[in-house]
């Protein structure tokens, strides 16, 4: 019972941390390098725990929270995270057994796909096309992926939680 609660806290805390990290203000030159933290953490949990914890509803809720916090169009991130989690869950078994570099590439592809979705939404909303630096963020996210994955795994091992 206690252990389950710790597990749940750990899970929720990581997601909250992701949302917080998304909000942390950075100096303007660093802004395009900020990875999309909620997507990374959701991906991690989707690969790690699969359907038991991460499902589309959760992704939708997290996305809505992110939308509210970020002040962007309501539903935009919800849609992106849903698509991301759906693909990740669909290919979960394969992604899990990829070597790390392949997994990183897959994450990069997912994040790029996410950006394309965002671009489509923005175009429909009538916003201007973003600059080239807008595309840096997925690469930063993919570069951080192995470290994030290993760190989270290591912490989980140490805390002895599932």
């Amino acid at each position: 019972m206690n252990k389950q609660r710790i597990q749940w806290l750990w899970f929720a805390g990581s997601l909250l941390f992701a949302l917080m990290s998304m909000l942390i203000p950075l100096p303007a030159p660093l802004q395009p390098f900020k990875p999309y933290w909620p997507a990374l953490f959701l991906l991690y949990w989707a690969l790690e725990s699969g359907d038991q914890r991460v499902n589309l509803g959760l992704a939708f809720c997290i996305g809505l929270c992110a939308d509210l916090l970020d002040g962007v169009l309501l539903g935009e991130q919800a849609m992106r995270l849903c698509a991301l989690v759906f693909i990740a869950l669909r290919f979960r078994s394969r992604l899990r057994f990829f070597p790390m570099w392949q997994q990183t590439l897959a994450v990069l592809a997912l994040l790029l796909n996410d950006r394309v979705l965002l671009l489509i939404v923005r175009t429909f909303a009538g916003e201007a096309l973003p600059t080239a630096s807008w595309w840096i963020s997925p690469f930063v996210g993919a570069a951080l992926w192995p470290f994030l994955f290993l760190l989270m795994d290591d912490l989980r091992m140490r805390l002895r939680i599932q």
């Binding site: 917080m20 909000l23 992704a59 669909r90």
Partner: protein
């Protein structure tokens, strides 16, 4: 059946239920986005949510504020002292400037008052503020903030620090309309300062220039010559600068030289102008002598001496006064 499939192996499985759910959520997100984009009722939800969200922002900005606090805490003492010193000097300088500005403002106020009520040597002037300017191709007028209540009369001359601006052509209760010297309908008798040559400067249609269309071919006029009011015609007092010759070219008719002059007054920039109060003494054409006196033997001498001057001004000034005053 469906249950069995879901449990069987998610290895390559694509369950129809999962896809349906995805479509459902995507559609939901789309609906939300459209509603939000159209600014429906969603904004109210956002407003209430933003109250909840605010502490989260505070929390998220903690690292940044912490970094700033740390940078202050760990920054070099020397840098801080230097910065302090520099700021002190800046403050001192700014204060000094402020003081001087206050003094200048006071002086300005005093001067304005002086000017307003001044009865100086020969200039009885009144300060007026320009309210509106109409600088078109066919009309160059400005509106000033004094009128018949302030004792303004039609025909008063308006000047600024650099020269003649124009004359009052219409007086209303609190405002008056001034015709600028560059108005196409305006003419002003001038004299060229260097040579004393008398002529008439008309306003022109091409921008803010004065036109002197009838200078005789033999006249000695050069670009750079200054134009003063000649005082002929009795409307403009003599000796006020009017303009400066820009170019002299033969007129299209070939009979005269045509000069272009730039007005010296800041027609398009001045904010405060001066109204000359007492009109110029009637130095223009003298009253026609009434041949009343019987001593006919004295008459030829004064008439011979006074006759030539009036004859020229009459010729030159006639269009000026007629066009200048007949306009309104």
């Amino acid at each position: 059946m469906a249950l069995a499939r879901e449990e069987s192996s998610p290895l390559f499985a694509g369950t129809a239920a999962g896809t349906l759910r995805l479509i459902f959520y995507l559609a939901l997100a789309l609906v939300l986005m459209v509603l939000d984009h159209r600014n429906g009722w969603i904004w109210r939800l956002r407003n209430t949510a933003s109250v909840l969200v605010e502490p989260v922002y505070r929390l998220a900005s903690l690292p940044a504020t912490g970094m700033r606090a740390a940078s202050v805490a760990f920054s070099d003492r020397k840098v801080l002292t230097e910065q302090n010193q520099r700021l002190r000097e800046d403050l001192l300088l700014a204060n000094a400037k402020l003081n001087r500005m206050a003094a200048v403002a006071e002086q300005n106020q005093r001067l304005k008052e002086l000017l307003d009520t001044q009865h100086s040597l020969e200039l009885n002037v009144q300060l007026a503020r320009v309210i509106d300017v109409d600088l078109g191709a066919s009309r160059q007028r400005m509106l000033i903030n004094v009128g018949s209540h302030d004792g303004v009369k039609k025909g008063q001359v308006v000047i600024d620090a650099h020269g003649v601006i124009g004359q009052v052509v219409e007086v209303m209760a609190r405002t008056s309309l001034v015709m600028l010297v560059t108005d196409p309908d305006h003419a002003i008798p001038v004299v060229i300062e260097r040579t004393g040559l008398r002529t008439v400067a008309y306003g022109s249609r091409d921008g803010a220039l004065l036109s002197l269309p009838n200078i005789s071919m033999a006249a000695d006029v050069h670009p750079g010559d200054k134009l003063l009011t000649s005082g002929l015609g009795g409307r403009f007092p003599p000796g006020f600068p009017v303009g400066e010759i820009r170019s002299v070219e033969p007129a299209a008719s070939g009979m005269f030289l045509e000069g272009k002059a730039r007005p010296t007054a800041d027609l398009d920039r001045s904010e405060d102008v001066l109204l000359l109060h007492d009109l110029a003494e009637p130095v223009g054409p003298p009253e026609p002598v009434t041949p009343a006196g019987p001593p006919a033997d004295l008459a030829p001498a004064p008439s011979a001496s006074t006759a030539p001057p009036p004859s020229t001004p009459r010729a030159a000034v006639a269009p000026a006064t007629s066009t200048g005053t007949a306009q309104p």
